[in-house]
C-alpha cells in the first residue's frame, strides 16, 4: 500500500523512490541521473529538463493559483540549476463540472507568468475525468545554458575546482555561505490558512514567483556553488539534502533566518516550524564565502529580506541550528505529521 508519507518528501519518500523506482529505472543522459534527485537533469551540454505535477487545493488562493504554481514551480526547478527557463509543456486533468471562471483564472495566470519569465508553452494535453479530482496540472520544462551561468562557473572556479557543468545541489564546499533569498514559510502558511479557515487575521499570501531573475543576477556576480528550491519540506529539507549530497555540515543561526514576525507567530501557535513550511519563490543558495556579501547585495535588490543564514563546514555533517540563547540543535529532516519526541 502506498502511504501518504511516500509522496511527501523527506526520508520516507527517498526510501520509497529508491526501493520502488530507482531500482527499476535510473538513467542519465548527461551528468545528472534520475536517482540524483535534483531539481532538473541535463540531457546534453546545453539543456536541462524537469517535470512537476501540481495538486494545489484550493486551486485559487491568496497570492496566486495552481496556474502560477505550475509555471513558476517548473521554471524555478530549471533556474536553480543555473538554466534559463525556455520551453514548457502544459498537461491538464480537469474534473467534469469544474467551474469555468476558476479555470479562466488559472489559465490567465499561466499566460501572465510564462510571459513574465519568457518561457514558451509549446505543447500540451487536456483530459476531463469523472473522478473527484478538481484540477491537476503537470508542466515539464526545458532550461538553457546562458551567459550568467558561464560567468558564475568561471568566477567560482577561480576559487576551487567545480567539476559540474551546472549548478548542482551537491556543490557545497566547506566555507560557503548559505543564503536564503527572502522571507520563508509564506506559501505553506497561506495554503494552510486557505484550506483550514482558521479565522486568523494574518495578511499572508503565497510567495509564488519566478526566481530566475534573482538567480541570474546572482550568477552575474558569480560564485554560486549550489542551489535548491525549498518547496515541499521547506528550507529544512533543502539544507539537509544539500548537506548530505555535498558531504558537508551546515551551521545556521536561528536569529538570521528571514521570516516575518506575524508568520512566525501563527506557526508558533500551531506548533509548525517555519523551516519546514513550503516556499514557491525562494532559493536556498550556497555561495563561495568570499563572494557571499557581493551576491547578497544583488539579491537584496530583488528582496530586501534575503539573508546569509549560515556557513558550511567540514567539521561535522549535520545541519545544526544555533539558537538565540546560544545552544545548538540538530535540524532534522522534516516529516508531514508531528512525531512527538520529548519524553
Amino acid at each position: 500500500m502506498i502511504r501518504r508519507e511516500d509522496g511527501a518528501g523527506g526520508k520516507y519518500m527517498t526510501e520509497f523512490l529508491r526501493k520502488r523506482i530507482f531500482s527499476r529505472l535510473d538513467s542519465r543522459a548527461g551528468e545528472i541521473s534520475l536517482s540524483d534527485m535534483e531539481d532538473s537533469a541535463d540531457f546534453d551540454e546545453k539543456y536541462v529538463f524537469t517535470t512537476d505535477s501540481y495538486t494545489a487545493f484550493p486551486p485559487i488562493f491568496r497570492g496566486g493559483s495552481i496556474g502560477s504554481l505550475a509555471v513558476c514551480g517548473t521554471s524555478n526547478d530549471l533556474a536553480v540549476m543555473g538554466a534559463q527557463p525556455a520551453y514548457m509543456s502544459l498537461a491538464l486533468i480537469i474534473q467534469e463540472g469544474f467551474d469555468e471562471g476558476t479555470f479562466e483564472r488559472i489559465m490567465d495566470d499561466v499566460r501572465y507568468w510564462s510571459e513574465r519569465i519568457g518561457v514558451k508553452v509549446i505543447t500540451g494535453d487536456t483530459k476531463v475525468v469523472e473522478m473527484n479530482a478538481g484540477i491537476f496540472v503537470n508542466t515539464s520544462g526545458i532550461g538553457v545554458r546562458n551567459e550568467a551561468l558561464e560567468n558564475n562557473l568561471r568566477v567560482l572556479r577561480e576559487y576551487r575546482d567545480y567539476p559540474y557543468r551546472w549548478v548542482r545541489d551537491r556543490g557545497l564546499k566547506a566555507g560557503d555561505a548559505v543564503i536564503v533569498t527572502g522571507n520563508i514559510a509564506e506559501h505553506g502558511l497561506a495554503m494552510l490558512l486557505e484550506r483550514e479557515d482558521l479565522g486568523f487575521e494574518v495578511d499572508v499570501e503565497s510567495d509564488v514567483q519566478p526566481v530566475w531573475f534573482a538567480v541570474k543576477a546572482a550568477m552575474e556576480v558569480g560564485g554560486v556553488s549550489a542551489m535548491k528550491d525549498p518547496t515541499r519540506g521547506g528550507v529544512a529539507e533543502a539544507l539537509n539534502e544539500m548537506a548530505e549530497k555535498s558531504g558537508v555540515g551546515i551551521l545556521v543561526e536561528e536569529e538570521r533566518i528571514p521570516v516575518r514576525d506575524d508568520v512566525k507567530g501563527v506557526c508558533d501557535a500551531l506548533g509548525l516550524d517555519p523551516l519546514t513550511m513550503a516556499n514557491e519563490g525562494k532559493v536556498v543558495m550556497g555561495v563561495e564565502g568570499e563572494m557571499a556579501e557581493d551576491v547578497l547585495r544583488v539579491l537584496r535588490k530583488f528582496d530586501e529580506s534575503a539573508e546569509i543564514i549560515g556557513y558550511t563546514t567540514d567539521e561535522f555533517r549535520e545541519v545544526v541550528v544555533k539558537t538565540r540563547i546560544g545552544t545548538t540543535k540538530i535540524l532534522p529532516w522534516p516529516t508531514i505529521d508531528p512525531i512527538p519526541r520529548v519524553c
Partner: protein, 751 residues
Amino acid sequence: MIVYRITVTGRVQGVGFRPFIYRLATSMGLRGYVKNVGDGTVEIVVDGSAERFVERMRGEKPPMAVIERVVIEEFGPAEEFSGFSIIESGGKSGLFSLPPPDFAVCERCLKEVFDPANRRHLYPFTTCTDCGQRFSVSFRLPFDRENTTMSAFPLCEDCQREYDDPGDRRYYAQSIACPKCGPRYFLHPHGAEGVEAIRLAARILDEGGIVAVKGIGGYHIACLTDDGVVERLRKLLKRPQQPFAVMVRDLDAAGRYAHIGDLERAELESYVRPIVVLRKKKELHQVAPHLDTVGIMLPYTALHAILFSFLEADALVMTSANLPGEPMAIEWPDVECDAVLHHNLRIHNRVDDSVVKVVNGRRMIIRRSRGFVPTPIPVGVEREAIALGAELYNSVAVLKDGKAIPSQYIGNTSNFRTFSEFFKRAVDFWIEYLDVRPEYVVRDLHPLYNTSSYADELAGRMDARVISVQHHLAHALSVMAERGIDEAVAIAVDGAGFGADGTIWGGEVLHVNANEGVFERVARMERIKLLGGDLSTAYPLRTLFSIIYEHTGSWELLEDYSKYLRENESFELMEMQFRRNLNVAPASSAGRYMDAISAMLEVCFERTYEGEPAMKVESVARRGEQIYEPEIGESFEPSTFSFDGRELGKGHVRVLEFGSVFVDSLERYRAGEDRGVVAWRLIDYLAMCFAEVVRDFDLPVVLSGGVAFNTHFSRSLAERVDYLTNELVPAGDNGISLGQIYALKSLEVLE
C-alpha cells in the same frame, strides 16, 4: 602444613585489595602470595588458617571493595614460602580490569589535608587507594597510572615510595599525587595558584560572585544560595526555573536546609556522594522555584573540603557550567563567570553528578553517572552488543561477557554538541575501552532520534545487525534485567515514546516475556491529542485543553484560563486545530497527564526544563496528602475502562479513561477545592487504574518510566499491588539502554 588457595570474586581489583591482603596476611604471620587474575578475580595463597583469614578479610576489607564470592581449595603439596608477597599481574584488559567508579575523598585523606604537619596539607588532589578519581581519568585498560591522564604527572620520590610500599595505604594507588608532583589549581583571571587560588575563590563566592570550578568530571558553576545571586546565575545559564543542586559544608548544614531520613543520610554520606533530592526546610526560592524539594550533596573531593574551610557560607549552589541541553564543560566553562577555578589535570571521561531520590522508601537513581559508572550488571546474555538508548537523558550500554555496562549519563542527544562531542565519543570510547565487537547495535524504534540514525550508521560500519526495541518495552526490560526476571506484567509510564503501532505511547501496561520475545500491549491510557506535537509538551495548557475539549466538546470550563494563553494562542485556534486534526499527534501519556494537572492547578504553564510540570505537581500533591490523609484503599472515583479494537493482532487492549475524572476535578478546583487534594486524587486515580489492570495477571509487576519517580504515584500503586522497580539504573530514559540490551535475551533463546 597445608597450603590453601582462596579465590575472591567481586570488585576486588583497583581498590587496594592486594595490599590489604598483604597487610592482613603478614599481621597473621602467614606466608604465601596474592595476585590479580585476568578474569577479574584475586587469587590468594596462604599456608594455613584459611577460614580465619577469610573471616577477617570479609570483616576488614577496604571500603571500596565488594566481595561477591570466595572459594577456598587445598592447593597441592606443601610449598616453601619465604614470606608473603604481592605478585605482579599479567595485564589482560577488558571487563574484568575495569576501574571502580570515581569515589568521594575518604576520611583519612581529609585528615591529612587539614593536618598542617602533613605534606599534603591543603592539597586539593589528595587521594588514596580508598578514594579519588578513577573512571574520569581512565582512557585505556587496565587501570594503571600510565593509562590515565594522571600519567602527565610523574611521581616524586615521596609519592613513588608510597606507591611501591605494600605497607602503605597508597601502595599501587593510581591516582595519588602531592603538592610537589601533582596537578594544581589556578584562579582565572587573578593569576593565583594553589591554596591561594582556592582561598581567593572562596572570598569571591562569599562576596556574591559566580565562580566556575573544575572538578572530577567537569565544570561546576558555584555561587551563594541567596536569591539575588542565584537570579544572576539563572540569567547567565539561561535556566529560568530549573532547580540547582546545593553543596553543603557537612551533614549538619544539610539538616538546616532539608529534612533527611535515614536512607537519605546514608546516600548523602556514601562513597558515591550523589545529589540527593530532599524535602526543603528553608524556602530557597531561587534555588528550586515552586518546588518543595531541593537537591543536596556533600563535598566529595579534597578541593570541596578546602573551599568550604575558607568559606563563610555553609552552602553553595553547584550546578554544571553549561547552557541547557549542552554537554557539561570539561575544558573551559561555556559561560562568562566572575572567576574560573581550574586545574591542569585533563578530564578524559565527562561524568556529571549523579542524582538519587528516595521514592516511597526505595532509593531510585534519577541520573546515573559519577560514583556509579562503570558498574557492570550481569544479564546472562552471551553476546557482544551496544545499545544506544533513546534521546533525552540518554546513556548507552555495552554488552560483554554476560554483563551489561551502562555508560555515564550523556543527556539530550537532540542537542548537537551533546550528540557529537559526548554521545558519539562515548560510543567510540566504550567500544574501544572494552574491546567490544558488537554483533548487534540496539536502538529505539523512534524514527527521528539522532541515536536511531546513528545506530543504523554504526551497524553498517561495524558490520553488525540493527535491532530496534520499542521504547516502553525497553523501560520494562530495564527492570527485568536488574532482577533477572523473564516474564512480567509491566507498567511503563513516561512522557512519550514511539509505539509499535506508529502512534505515541507513554502510559502502557505490557505483558513481556523476555525469553520468548512476547511483547503484548495489555492496556493503555486514553489518547490525548497533542496540539502541535511537542508544542503541547512545552505548554501544558494545550494538553489540558485537549482533555477537556475531548470530553465536554467545549472549552467553557477553561474560560478563566485564557489569561495564561501565550501571545499568539487562543482557545478558538486550539479548537480549530483539534477539530481539524491540524498538526496534531495523539498520544497515550502519563507524563502529559501530569502536565495537564499542572496547568489545571495553575502551577506550570511553560516547561523550561525536563520534568518541570510533573515535579511541580508532585510538590503541590504532597500538601494534598497531608491535608487529606486519605484512607488506604479508599478510592475517590471508580476506575473506568473502555476497550480498543484488536491491537497488534493480539487481542483487546483495555483503555484507561480519565476524561470524566479530569472534568470533575477541574470543576471542583474552580469551586474552591484545595489544589493539593485535587492533584493527589488525580494521581491516585491513575495508580488505581494501573493497579486494577495488572492485578489480573499472575506475574511479577514491574514499574518503569519517568513517572515512576513520582512519590505519590508510586505510593498509591504500592498500596494496591506489590511491584518491582529500577534500583541499579534510572527508571527514566537514562536507564533505557540496559533494557535495550536485555531485549537480546529473546534472540539468545530463539537460536
